[in-house]
């Protein structure tokens, strides 16, 4: 009688990770989430999960001071959180909020900038000349190096 055929052992990591990032630590440590991926885009060089929560929250809150770039950096930094939607429940609301905020803000700025540049003088009248940057720089003498 033949012994039951066992499947040839393929390389198995400590936990079954469906995600593509290799889990360097086969034993889940408190530093990583149970999903075995790192919350930041830097991977093992980035933050731990607890630090990530505080950083994500801080970036989200500071972004309200007219700093959409900070929201964008927040989304970029915690990109794995956005990609794996179930892994980091505590960080996710801040990152998603930052993404939404950045999208709205950039839509507004792009709309205004495009209106300004395409509309030009026909739309704004003489005010356009006063608002456009190169005239303003000339008038205020911003390009004189000293």
């Amino acid at each position: 009688m033949e012994p039951p055929q066992s499947q040839p052992q393929v390389q198995v990591q400590g936990n079954s990770n469906p995600n593509p990032n290799p889990n360097p630590n086969p034993n889940p440590s408190p530093i990583q989430s149970t999903g075995g991926i790192w919350p930041t885009i830097d991977g093992p060089l980035g933050l731990s999960e607890e630090e990530s929560v505080s950083y994500a929250r801080r970036f989200y809150k500071f972004g309200f001071a007219l700093l959409p770039l900070l929201w964008a950096v927040n989304c970029f930094y915690f990109w794995p959180v956005l990609r794996h939607s179930r892994s980091f429940p505590r960080i996710r609301p801040y990152v998603v909020g930052s993404a939404v905020g950045f999208a709205i803000f950039s839509a507004l700025i792009c709309t205004w900038a495009l209106t300004f540049s395409i509309g030009g003088e026909r739309l704004f009248g003489p005010v356009w000349d006063q608002l456009v940057m190169y005239n303003l720089a000339d008038r205020l003498g911003l390009t004189a190096w000293s």
């Binding site: 040839p8 052992q9 290799p22 360097p24 630590n25 086969p26 034993n27 440590s29 530093i31 930041t40 885009i41 830097d42 991977g43 093992p44 060089l45 980035g46 933050l47 731990s48 630090e51 950083y55 801080r58 007219l66 700093l67 959409p68 770039l69 900070l70 950096v73 970029f76 930094y77 700025i109 205004w112 900038a113 300004f116 540049s117 030009g120 608002l131 456009v132 940057m133 190169y134 303003l136 720089a137 000339d138 911003l142 390009t143 004189a144 190096w145 000293s146």
Partner: protein, 461 residues
Amino acid sequence: MAQRQTPSTQTPTLLDSLGEEIVRIVAPVSICMFLVVILVSVLNSGDSSFSVSSIATIAYTETTSDSSWDKFVGALLNSLAFVVVVTVATFLLVLLFYFRCTGFLKIYMGFSAFVILGFLGGEVLIFLIQHFSTPIDCFTFLLLLCNFAVVGVMAVFMSKMPILVTQSYLVVIGILVAYWFTMLPEWTTWAMLVAMALYDLAAVLLPIGPLRLLVELAISRNEEIPALVYEARPVNVENLDPRVAVARRRLWRDRRATENSNLRGDANVNVDNALGLGANAELNHGSDSNRNDPSLAGEGAVLDSNLSSSTSYGTYSDRNLVRAEEGRVQETDSEVTTPLIGHGVNVRMHSRPEDADASDENLMLEGIGLGSSGAIKLGLGDFIFYSVLVGRAAMYDFMTVYACYLAIIAGLGITLMLLALYQKALPALPVSVALGVLFYFLTRLLLEVFVVQCSMNLLMF
């Protein structure tokens, strides 16, 4: 069961790890030089010789009508004045560091970075807007500029950010300062480069040199000096033991020194020891640079010297800076130390202090170091002076740009090799600047004539 070693699971050879590390430091230097060349060629095509007044022109203002001898003497005086200012600033920095005014230094550095990114960046952007006649309005411009500057200061000094963002901001700061320096008169620029290379050599190698004092002070106190240092990513993180990877992650920019109290908290000082061991520490010491921005001007020059310590960007003040390189001697976990030495080479280079002209900002620029963990750190001053050399070469012709670029990269490679050989702090400027200046003059005097004649006679090129 047959085992197959895929390339990803093979132990990286010396070539992989060392080559990768070198590429990770040569790439940003090349990007910085390339962008400065582009800026110079785009903005100076009108050939408006804009001369900035700064400390480097305090002794003599070069005009095109002077004789060559006058220009030469004037350039020497200017560069001498510049070096004196840098020396004084560095000693001031050593003094401040000695009296433990690190908080003040950090605030000053943050302020300097904000001024560079905000004002200098704004000036360069305005130049570009005027050149391309971009119809952007002032509100959008101000908003974008403020965002850029604030996030930049956060990335470089205050907060932990994606490594890519921090590295990019450091390169941008290097580009802006280098572009500003290329606005100096020509003879003064070349004299200043040579003078700074000599100063770097003296300050790092002489026992009374301020940078050496600074480094020794930092080592003895085990503290960190705030500095602007570009740090490359360490290689081979994936192949490390998980505990090592964790510890390395913590080392790499650990901003909260709390749990790493056993790690030396902030010091960037890596003491250079014999290789191969966790005990290596590289000393990176930063160069201080005073950047004076005349545009801000007006006010008197506040020279600050910031010491930059070797650590990575931004983490200072009581953080464990990148220690990845070091394997951290103080790390009590032994796992941390050993595997970090991928190739057993612990070298460090020290670069010269970066000094800027008369304005108020001081950048702390750091020398170059090669960590045992493979993370190379290069001071921002090196970026700046290399880019100034290449930018000035670009003002003449692109042929000199190619020659100077190759010379600088070769000098960087030689310095890395010397570092591996001598295992102590070495200045990063002298070899590259010497080769660069030599190649510039040789190209300008000899090669150009040859190439032009060949091209005109349709022989080659």
